[in-house]
Symmetry: C2
Subunit: 70 residues, 2 copies
């Protein structure tokens, strides 16, 4: 699924996909595909993205199971 939390964090930091890509050492296409939910990034890339955006793994990549909220 699309990673809307990552996209929001990026625009909060006011940087483009291309700028974020440069910050974390990948290409623009890779950032685009992660935001589009079209693949499964490596842990180290996730961590680099979090640090570039001032967030943690849980902030950007963890989904709570909200199904069973009573």
């Amino acid at each position: 699924m699309k990673n809307i939390k990552m996209k929001i964090a990026r625009v909060e930091n006011d940087i483009s996909q291309e700028e974020l890509a440069k910050l974390v050492g990948v290409t623009r296409q890779t950032i685009g595909m992660i935001e589009a939910g079209k693949f499964n990034p490596s842990l180290q890339l996730c961590i680099a993205i979090c640090k570039a955006l001032g967030k943690t793994l849980n902030d950007l990549f963890w989904e709570e199971d909200n199904h069973e909220k009573i």
Copy 2:
């Protein structure tokens, strides 16, 4: 570096590398190499491991920058 937090969480759950591997759908060697810090797992695998062990991404895979603690 070695992922000691993941190993501790696994032994707290009292399961072997092989059992964890089966739970998350990879081989024993993959679990072993992640604990040994010898590679860079995918996000989806990290999430599967966290759920199998009752932890979050931050619990097992996030390192705070403790360098600048004053």
